[in-house]
């Protein structure tokens, strides 16, 4: 998914695509001090990236949540108190006022890149 602001992004290579679990499970990567949760969804062959910090518990755990869908939206459920976050937008489904950073991603030559604002 490419957007107008993409040019302002700093694309960071975080891992190889084959490093990610291929069974709809999350994994975490560290970029400088930022912890990022990556989710590779095999049915659509796409990678999603969210900030790994669960705002409800303050723990870096979202990569360890269960991936699923609510209606048409892909979500991850926090493993601590089970709130759901939209994989595309970072919006919390249970609490309108809460959302977490969602990062654009792309896969180039087998590498996973994450777009961070520069």
């Amino acid at each position: 998914m490419q957007t107008a602001t993409e040019l302002d992004l700093n694309w960071v290579d975080v891992c190889a695509l084959h490093d990610l679990p291929d069974n709809n499970m999350g994994a975490a990567v560290l970029h400088e001090e930022t912890q990022i949760a990556l989710f590779y969804i095999k049915q659509i062959d796409q990678v999603f990236a969210l900030n790994n910090l669960d705002p409800f518990s303050g723990a870096n755990v979202l990569s360890r949540g269960i991936i699923g869908s609510v209606g048409d939206e892909l979500v991850v459920a926090s493993p601590i108190y089970k709130e759901h976050f939209n994989l595309k937008t970072g919006q919390c489904l249970e609490d309108e006022g809460v959302s977490i950073a969602a990062y654009p991603t792309k896969v180039t030559e087998g590498r996973v890149l994450i777009g961070l604002s520069s």
Partner: protein, 842 residues
């Protein structure tokens, strides 16, 4: 306005029910209540008295809610008998000299067991069967005895015989009449009942008139009968009927019946307008009602009369259904067919020892009475036909004939019942009450029981309550949505069935065949658990890993800061000093917060994700295996130290617990399962608060099921008694497998059982009597799970690829630097939010 004084004499079942009725009534505010309780124990459940011998405690039997008297400001004089009523000055005086002036007085003095004046009836070791004190004495006498006799083969006599049997005595029942339960059943039924009871190794002697009791040669007593025969015995229990306790009423001149009993009218008023009598001491229309349900009705009538509400006692149905020594017995209405020109239909099945009889009106259209032995399934239907005067089918015998052609039971649909039909007689719940509760939102059996109390007394009406519930739901057009989640339009039980029948091995296969979308955090762990229950494959295998709930995915319990706790298995709570030292060393080395759990294990907190395999490697090398504390699975089998060390122990509870834990460890289930084994009824392992609890008795193991602690604690129900270890394991296999197969997601055994139509009785039928013919399958399936067991952590640490999955980040070996601990009482704990901000500000 000052309050009036209401004195209640007697805190038995009916007396207490009256107090409860008052507390629930507005009229309570007008009265100050004082009650006398002759026994030192407040009201307890006399109907369940026999269960005292099979392991129930005094507390279990108590009917008094915590702080009932304090909270409701009722004064109670325990261990003090009201002795005298002065009707003129309206004062009650007690044995201990307490005098209370009353405005209104309620007599709930109950009855006493009739002891025939046989010469020798006052000898030692001769007892009656009425109070907990009686039972304690009988039980003490039982310890030095071999043989016991019950005089009286009525309902209570057979209960008492069961008690003697439970005490391990060779048991005889001696009855004056030509058959057992002479009042309730006829000769044909009596013969079937007798045969069944004799099969249980209880000798039955009918038409025996005891002449005297003298010293025996081999036993304490010798009972001589009029026909010249005799029996030697060590213990004698008299159970020859009850008599109303009307002495206090007689002394103050209240009207009594010719053969005793305090005469009352429809409002339960005696011949004195300020004195009521209720329960077994009251004589209404020339009849004493020796069952608890009519007593409860009377209690309500008096509470209503005091509140000037319309209510009247109009007699009670004396139909009964019960299990006597494991034999189903039921009697309805005119069981003997004494009604003029009544017609009788009988069905006798000599092969299965089933006897059924119905008594119908001359014109074949109305049911008058019935007797059922060996199979009481028809009881609910027949009783409703009788009570509601419902026209019978063209051929009334179809009501009791077996349905073998698949045409289904003839009975009547619950729809034929009027709203006023009483479904639960223990708590007087009508069909209308149940319908109302359903439409108010109690749409499960469990919720209905909680809301209406129906089916929570004797449980005899459970099937009927279930039918009413289903019919109502159907009528409301309420398609009860039992879908697991939006991805699967099935219940957990249906999914389980698919996995078994279609041999489904992965979540993806399940989703492809029967689901939609991507799954979610509800269906994924559920299917993961079912797959594990059925096939017991390694849960972190590629297709299963993504299904696992938070804790299962890393085989450890996630704590609030994202770190994990580790609980190695310590079977039965037994651990060597060396292994204990290893736990200490590991805890110290990795700086883990260490705590003893309630399940007799050690919990090590604060391990980071990437540390888990390293720590477990050390634990496995020292001989530990996983404790499954993270799974919806068998947790612990708690034990007391047992007869190996304990002065009171009756069996080796530790060995038993270890065997049981090793058998079921690793079993994945709808919710966590906890077990315990106690070596005697002192119950130090708290087995009665577990899903499965085992208590050693002199006669073998007593098995309890469906208890739990937690948010809604529930005492376990006594399920079977006097088992040998092997039989007990079979029962537990069947019980657990039945639960695993049929329970809903996150439903503990107690809720599951409550929602089974037929509840505990049904569970017994399935597990003990094998009514579904599935016992062998359950055992085989359990054996498959047992054989497939492997320690998940052992398997995990053996492979580098698997341990790699535990690294916190896939692009670096660094740990999560945001996990912060602070010291407390010489150990570490997670930093609180405010402490975090202060550290980061440094």
């Amino acid at each position: 306005m000052s309050k009036k004084t209401l004195v209640v004499i007697g805190n038995g079942m009916v007396g207490h029910k009256f107090l409860q009725s008052m507390v629930n009534s507005d009229v309570m505010q007008d009265y100050q209540i004082v009650t006398f309780c002759e026994e030192t124990r407040l009201a307890y459940d006399r109907v369940q008295l026999t269960s005292f011998f099979s392991g129930k405690s005094e507390d279990d039997l108590s009917l008094v809610e915590d702080n009932f008297f304090e909270d409701n400001n009722i004064t109670v004089h325990t261990g003090d008998r009201a002795k005298h009523i002065d009707r003129k000055s309206k004062v009650v005086t007690s044995e201990k000299g307490v005098s209370i002036s009353y405005d209104k007085l309620v007599l709930a003095t109950g009855s006493f067991p009739f002891v025939p004046p046989i010469p020798g009836h006052e000898r030692d070791n001769c007892f009656v069967y009425r109070t907990i004190d009686d039972l304690i004495e009988i039980s003490e006498a039982g310890e030095t005895s071999k043989v016991g006799v019950v005089i009286g083969g009525g309902l209570l006599g057979l209960e008492a015989a069961k008690a003697l049997k439970d005490l391990g005595l060779k048991t005889h029942v001696v009855e004056f009449a030509p058959r057992l339960m002479a009042v309730q059943i006829d000769d044909g039924a009596g013969a079937v009942l007798r045969k069944k009871i004799e099969e249980l190794d209880v000798s039955v002697h009918t038409q025996k008139n005891t002449q005297n009791i003298v010293d025996g040669e081999e036993c304490v007593h010798r009972m001589n009968f009029a026909d010249g025969s005799h029996i030697e015995t060590d213990v004698i229990l008299f159970s020859a009927g009850i008599r109303p306790r009307d002495d206090i009423a007689a002394e103050c001149g209240l009207a009594l019946g010719e053969r005793g009993g305090i005469v009352v009218n429809d409002s339960c008023l005696t011949s004195d307008d300020d004195i009521y009598a209720i329960g077994e001491c009251a004589l209404w229309d020339g009849k004493i009602f020796g069952l608890v349900a009519p007593g409860y009705q009377m209690a309500q009538v008096v509470a209503d009369h005091l509140a000037q509400k319309d209510n009247a006692f109009t007699g009670a149905d004396m139909s009964t259904k019960l299990k006597l020594m494991g034999v189903d017995v039921a009697s309805i209405g005119d069981a003997h067919g004494v009604t003029d020109k009544a017609k009788v239909y009988t069905y006798v099945n000599g092969a299965d020892d089933v006897y059924k009889k119905i008594v119908v009106s001359e014109d074949n259209t109305r049911l008058l009475g019935a007797v059922l032995i060996g199979d009481t399934v028809d009881y609910g239907n027949l009783l409703q036909l009788k009570l509601n005067d419902i026209p019978l089918p063209e051929y009334p015998d179809s009501l009791i004939l077996p349905q073998r052609d698949g045409s289904g039971a003839t009975g009547l649909g619950v729809e034929a019942l009027p709203d006023a039909a009483q479904i639960c007689s223990c708590y007087d719940v009508s069909k209308g009450d149940i319908c109302q509760a359903v439409s108010d939102g109690s749409t499960t059996m469990g919720a209905l029981k909680e809301c209406t109390k129906a089916a929570t007394g004797c449980g005899g009406c459970a099937a009927l309550v279930g039918q009413v519930l289903n019919k109502e739901l159907e009528k409301m057009g309420m398609d009860v949505n039992t879908d697991l989640c939006e991805h699967f339009a099935f219940t957990r039980q249906e999914l389980y069935h698919m996995v078994r029948v279609e041999g489904i091995k992965t979540f993806d296969e399940m989703l492809d065949k029967h689901g939609k979308g991507y799954g979610c955090d509800i269906c994924k762990p559920t299917v993961g658990s079912i797959l594990a229950s059925c096939w017991n494959e390694y849960v972190l295998d590629q297709p299963h890993a993504a299904l696992q709930d938070t804790n299962d995915r890393y085989l450890a319990n996630m704590q609030k800061n994202g770190t994990y706790s580790i609980v190695p298995r310590i079977t039965g709570g037994e651990i060597t000093p060396d292994k204990l030292i290893v736990l200490g060393q590991v805890g110290k080395k990795y700086n883990l917060y260490t705590k003893i759990t309630g399940g007799q294990r050690v919990d090590l907190f604060g391990a980071r994700q990437e540390q888990l395999p390293v720590i477990w490697k050390e634990l496995i090398d020292a001989g530990f295996e996983t404790g499954h504390a993270y799974g919806k699975s068998l947790r612990t089998v708690k034990s007391c130290v047992g007869d190996t060390w304990c002065r009171y122990g009756l069996a080796d509870s530790v060995s038993a617990a270890i065997d049981i834990e090793n058998r079921y460890k690793g079993l994945r289930s709808p919710h966590k399962i906890k077990l315990a084994v106690s070596g005697c009824t002192r119950e130090c392992a708290e087995a009665q608060s577990k899903d499965v609890g085992v208590i050693a008795t002199e006669n073998g193991w007593n098995l309890y099921v469906c208890g739990n602690g937690g948010m809604k604690p529930r005492h376990a129900d006594l399920f079977a008694t006097g088992l040998d270890f092997e039989t007990m394991i079979k029962y537990i296999d069947r019980f657990l497998m039945f639960y695993v197969k049929t329970a809903d997601r996150l439903q503990r055994t107690s809720t599951w059982m409550m929602n089974l139509e037929g509840g505990l009785d049904y569970l017994r039928e399935v597990v003990i009597e094998d009514s579904l013919g599935l016992a062998e399958t359950f055992e085989q399936e359990m054996q498959t799970v047992v054989d497939a067991y492997e320690c998940e952590w052992k398997r995990t640490v053996e492979s580098e690829e698997r341990t790699k999955q535990f690294s916190t980040f896939i692009n670096t070996d660094k740990p999560d630097s945001q996990i912060v601990f602070v010291p407390e009482r010489d150990q570490l704990r997670p930093a609180r939010q405010d402490e975090l901000t202060s550290t980061s500000a440094d």
